[in-house]
């Protein structure tokens, strides 16, 4: 009896400790960034591009990286959506009865989902060399699009599968074609599409390896797709590598900016996900 009780207590304690470790490290990470970043946070950081001596501690900000990241994450998500929605619709609405092929496709997407982003970066880089494109906003967007497509496809696939088959039958029974039925399904999953967009945007904006060779880096805000673009993760990397304390501090401030962006996006996606389940038919 006591042995069983002891065992129960022991494992319960282990579980509590593990939970504290995980949630604690979240607060520790966010806390550290706040602690180290807030003193260097100022209006200039988010409203100016790096000035002449920015990297030795003189004036300027990381507006170039903020805008660059927004461009790349936004562009990749939009481009990815145009490719992923047709894929998700196709595998769910046009592949009835082809179970083996369907399972294989889903497995392929799972594998793609798990491929490290540096591989997408390297692949994007090869594509760029082949087409003679230099490190640029366009290159970055293409590499990150490759990265987010599996996320979008998987999320949309999951969401479409929550739509009851009877709703499709209802549309089909009214004489809809498959495509017309797909449009009904897309309407039904609208909140799910927002969620997929936010998930993809969150992943895209935080990724460093895929943009490392493809987007390059620039102190200027890109004005065309062919100019190199800075990204927040790379800006953090460069600043933290500096021996100047001021610049390192700004690195943490940049990390703070990135974290806040991702945090807001995560919270928004949680909210939309909850709403999409509430409105489920």
């Amino acid at each position: 009896m006591t042995r069983r009780k002891l065992e129960e207590q022991f494992f319960k304690l282990l579980m509590i400790l593990a939970t504290i470790l995980v949630s604690g490290s979240f607060f520790l990470i966010v806390g550290t960034i706040f602690y180290k970043g807030v003193p260097y946070m100022n209006w200039d950081m988010i409203s100016k591009t790096p000035g002449g001596g920015f990297y030795i501690g003189k004036e300027g900000g990381v507006l170039n990286a903020i805008i660059g990241s927004m461009y790349i994450a936004g562009g990749a998500t939009i481009l990815g959506l145009f490719i992923s929605i047709p894929v998700a619709i196709f595998i769910n609405m046009y592949m009835d009865g082809k179970k083996f092929l369907l399972d294989t496709l889903r497995m392929v997407f799972d594998v793609l989902f798990g491929i490290p982003s540096i591989v997408y970066g390297a692949f994007g880089f090869l594509l760029m060399i082949y087409f003679g494109v230099r490190a640029s906003l366009l290159g970055g967007i293409i590499a990150v699009t490759l990265l987010v497509i599996p996320i979008l496809v998987r999320t949309l696939d999951e969401v479409i599968r929550t739509v009851p088959g009877e709703l499709r039958d209802a549309a089909l029974a009214l004489g809809s074609t498959r495509w017309e039925t797909a449009k009904v399904v897309l309407r039904a999953i609208k909140p799910g599409i927002y969620t997929a967009v936010l998930l993809s945007f969150g992943r895209a904006i935080g990724d460093v390896a895929s943009v490392l060779f493809t987007a390059g880096f620039s102190d200027n805000i890109p004005t065309s797709l062919h100019e190199p673009a800075a990204t927040l993760p790379l800006a953090i990397f460069f600043q933290l590598g500096s021996p100047v304390a001021e610049v390192q501090g700004r690195g943490y401030a940049s990390a703070l900016i990135l974290t806040i962006v991702v945090l807001v996006i995560t919270l928004l996606s949680e909210l939309l996900l909850k709403r999409s389940y509430k409105n489920k038919i």
């Binding site: 009865g97 089909l172 009214l174 004489g175 038919i281």
Partner: protein
């Protein structure tokens, strides 16, 4: 049972899903402008039979259908047939209401819109007519633009019926259409079936014998994928000829 001008004529129909032989050599005729109920225990194939009439069965994976289903003399399993044209002829009322994710108005207007480009004025008239047909107009006329999902389940089911009728079908297929409804809504739907048979041929799948008795002109009893008995409702329920039908009607097999 044979009829002079059957609306549906099923000849040698067999349905296999994977290795299961769901329907075995079905030969039946469904009369015009009558209510025909398909009864039988769960899993006997009655819903599958209904789904072969509008070819929704096509969406089942690993399904194999052989034989003929003639609707108005036209074999709907003919490879050259336009499937949307077949489905337009039949309104489906499923077990639970599944309103389309749009407004009450758009739910009714959906069918007419995909099959043509009706004018707004004609559509307004059509929507009102169909909602009146199912006795929903007075209840919803002030909120036609509200999402259809805000209606009660009973109202949603009537909306789904009106949505099906708006396409201008010849036939209504009901798949245990009242099983999710409260007794009052059930009565409204049953009464609608009785009124609607003046204009439409109605085929209902039901496992409620008393419902079959209340609404049907003819009853088909299906057991283990075979038609056991088919006849006028009165006869099937009161004086069945087959031993299995007797047992089912008395409640020995469920």
């Amino acid at each position: 049972m044979t009829f002079e001008q059957p609306h549906i004529n099923v000849q040698g129909l067999n349905v296999q899903i994977g290795n299961n032989h769901i329907l075995k050599d079905i030969n039946i005729e469904i009369p015009n402008k009558k209510v025909t109920s398909i009864i039988g225990p769960s899993g006997c194939g009655k819903t599958t039979l209904l789904k072969t009439f509008n070819r929704l069965i096509d969406n089942t994976s690993d399904v194999k259908v052989t034989g003929k289903v003639l609707v108005d003399g036209e074999n709907i399993y003919d490879p050259n047939i336009e499937i949307t044209h077949i489905r337009k002829k039949m309104g489906l009322l499923s077990q639970r209401p599944y309103p389309l994710p749009m407004s009450i108005y758009d739910n009714i207007a959906y069918g007419p819109r995909i099959h043509g480009s009706p004018k707004k004025k004609d559509l307004d008239i059509l929507v009102e007519d169909q909602l009146r047909n199912v006795g929903l107009w007075e209840e919803v006329k002030d909120r036609l633009n509200a999402p259809a999902t805000r209606l009660s389940i009973g109202q949603q089911q009537r909306l789904c019926l009106a949505r099906g009728l708006a396409v201008g079908p010849e036939m209504i297929l009901g798949d245990e259409s009242t099983s999710a409804l409260d007794p009052l809504s059930t009565k409204i739907i049953e009464d609608l079936f009785i009124t609607l048979k003046e204009k439409y041929s109605i085929v209902l799948v039901t496992h409620i014998l008393r419902q079959a008795a209340r609404v049907s002109d003819y009853i088909i009893f299906v057991y283990m994928g075979r038609i056991i008995e088919y006849g006028p409702a009165e006869q099937i329920l009161k004086d069945p000829q087959e031993q299995l039908t007797k047992e089912y009607v008395k409640g020995y097999i469920t």
